[in-house]
């Protein structure tokens, strides 16, 4: 399998080499340009996080900091318990991603493999879920959360994040539709139950898609501020993003340099997750060998 993949890579590289050098240079140039656009704002923020407020007020944002001044970082770390935030964020991410991928693959499995009454209506419900406007519905949701007793616990956001959404179901569906039903049928012949089929065949098949969707979910959860802010006011339940949110609104940290430091601190875990798992986003899909 691995070897197979390598050969494929080789051929693609050969192909690109063959397809002319002028075009190739142009393509690379295009991506260098895009990279510059992507990196510039991030770079400015990193620069700003090492400057003092008077420096921000008096020099160009493009000017690199003259020294690595960690004052802003210290200030942010002092004003917020980053470790508790990190722990909570991680719990939210792991629980939400795992439950969410199990639930959404189950729904997708049911929707692609079975015909049942109200199937269309069921789809429509998920469609509604996708276009329902946030925040205004929060008032009803909030009452509900307090009634079932999960207010100010990590369970509240997990319950919200865990639910399957239409986009996930749709992408899983795309994947599953490419898995021939004959695979299921032959397993059935061998005496496997539907549960076994889901667990042994379907779930492994869609792991590449799960990798992509899981990482996207993880990023959404890590970056979401409003739900943890609203449902978990307790200091012990702060997450990384609510910490950033507090930094913005706290005058001790809301000035540009400190805010930049806070933004960088919050960015780091997301980026670490991204850099570790990115190969699953990209190569995972290709290695998924859907056509097998």
């Amino acid at each position: 399998m691995e070897a197979n993949l390598d050969i494929k890579k080789e051929t693609t590289i050969n192909i690109t080499k063959r397809s002319g050098s002028g075009g190739e240079a142009l393509k690379v140039l295009l991506f260098i340009f895009i990279s510059a656009i992507v990196i510039l704002p991030i770079l400015i923020t990193v620069f700003a996080s090492f400057k003092s407020l008077p420096q921000i007020g008096s020099e160009s944002a493009l000017k690199p900091p003259t020294s690595l001044n960690f004052e802003n970082y210290k200030e942010v770390l002092k004003s917020a318990n980053v470790f508790v935030g990190f722990k909570n964020s991680m719990i939210l991410v792991v629980a939400s991603v795992v439950i969410n991928s199990l639930l959404s693959t189950m729904v997708a499995y049911c929707l692609t493999r079975f015909d049942f009454k109200l199937k269309k209506a069921y789809f429509a419900i998920f469609l509604v879920g996708l276009i329902i406007p946030g925040i205004v519905t929060e008032i009803s949701r909030f009452g509900l959360m307090t009634n079932i007793g999960v207010y100010d616990t990590l369970l509240a956001p997990i319950l919200i994040y865990a639910g399957a959404d239409l986009m996930q179901i749709y992408i899983y569906k795309q994947f599953l539709e490419q898995v021939p039903v004959s695979v299921d049928e032959s397993a059935m012949m061998d005496g496997a139950s539907y549960f076994t089929i889901y667990w042994r065949i379907i779930f492994p098949m869609v792991i590449p898609a799960t990798a992509t969707l899981g990482i996207l979910k993880a990023v959404d959860v890590l970056n979401d501020m409003y739900i943890p802010f609203l449902y978990m006011p307790g200091v012990e339940n702060r997450t990384l993003s609510t910490l950033l949110f507090n930094c913005i609104t706290d005058p001790r940290t809301s000035s540009i340099p400190k805010l930049s430091a806070a933004a960088v601190i919050v960015m780091i875990p997301t980026l670490v997750i991204y850099f570790i798992f990115q190969k699953y986003i990209f190569s995972g899909i290709a290695a998924g060998a859907v056509k097998e």
Binding site: E59, A61, L103, Y122, I131, I171, V219, L244
Partner: protein, 292 residues
């Protein structure tokens, strides 16, 4: 006998697999939606214990007596068109990133980077970039002896500046989806065309594009939803200013609910928005299928 057993098993799977997702979506999506509809017929201020039933007054007010609400939809339109115009570019970039450019691995990483960053952090970054005091973009313009631009202060420009931020942040997710689609295509299909000597562009247009139609469709739908619901970028960066020039429909809804204490009206606005999203999506789907 066997058939009966299978049928029972099927029902069992359906019930067990769909039970939790259904509960979650009913509690956190459908129930709030029902309350939203109910509240839209009241003049509730969001706080007092009495909720006065006012019939269709709120809807009448939105449709006939709220020019500012409809003007704000025009701003949503700018986001919509901006992202729509970018979809072909995103498609092409995803296609190149699918191993058709040197260092595609590195460029992939960079292209998706913005999506990983917290929206509030993104907003902070772009505030430096757009600022009229030592802002990076204006310093660059000055360097080339061009006139400064009021990126966030000119009512004619502010929405385009904000759309730029939205493009910066969200283009990556579209590219991921497209890339996933490309990579799930059978490789031999493309290889065959390469052997035929088809150029990159021809491969793209004639072979790849028709095969990823479903993903393009979902991206188009996500775009309608995203553009019509866009909220955090204008809210954080300009709070809808200057003088309401960059308010989007959702920003107005939230202000109506919380700043102007008219929760019933805000609920009605949310419902109107949902209807608009549905209508737009249907029209777009029809048009897309006509063309395809």
């Amino acid at each position: 006998m066997l058939k009966n057993n299978v049928k029972m098993q099927k029902n069992l799977v359906l019930v067990t697999f769909l039970f939790i997702p259904t509960i979650l979506i009913s509690l956190f999506m459908i129930y709030p939606l029902i309350r939203l509809v109910a509240l839209s017929f009241t003049s509730w201020d969001g706080l007092s214990l009495t909720k006065t039933f006012v019939g269709l007054t709120n809807f009448k007010k939105i449709i006939f007596d709220s020019p500012e609400v409809w003007l704000s939809l025009k701003n949503n339109g700018i986001y919509f068109v901006g992202h729509l115009l970018f979809i072909p570019i995103e498609l092409f970039l995803a296609f190149l990133l699918d191993n058709r450019v040197r260092n595609s691995k590195m460029f992939k990483t960079i292209t998706f980077l913005p999506y990983m960053i917290n929206t509030v952090a993104v907003a902070c970054m772009f505030i430096f970039l757009y600022s009229s005091q030592d802002g990076v973009l204006n310093s660059m313009l000055q360097f080339f002896h061009m006139d400064k631009i009021g990126w966030l202060s000119d009512p004619e420009i502010v929405n385009y500046s904000l759309t730029g931020v939205s493009l910066w942040k969200f283009s990556g997710i579209h590219i991921i989806l497209f890339l996933a689609a490309f990579q799930s295509l059978p490789k031999d299909m493309i290889e065959a065309s390469i052997i035929d000597g088809a150029s990159t562009f021809k491969q793209f247009y004639h072979i790849v594009l028709p095969n990823i139609k479903p993903v393009v469709e979902i991206v188009l739908f996500l775009n309608v939803r995203g553009a019509l619901q866009i909220f955090d970028i204008p809210y954080v960066m300009t709070s809808g200013g200057p003088n309401h020039a960059s308010e989007t429909f959702t920003v107005q809804t939230i202000n109506t609910a919380f700043q102007y204490q008219n929760f019933g009206l805000a609920c009605a606005m949310a419902i109107v928005l949902m209807i608009i999203i549905i209508i737009f999506s249907i029209i777009q789907k029809k048009l897309f299928n006509l063309k395809g």
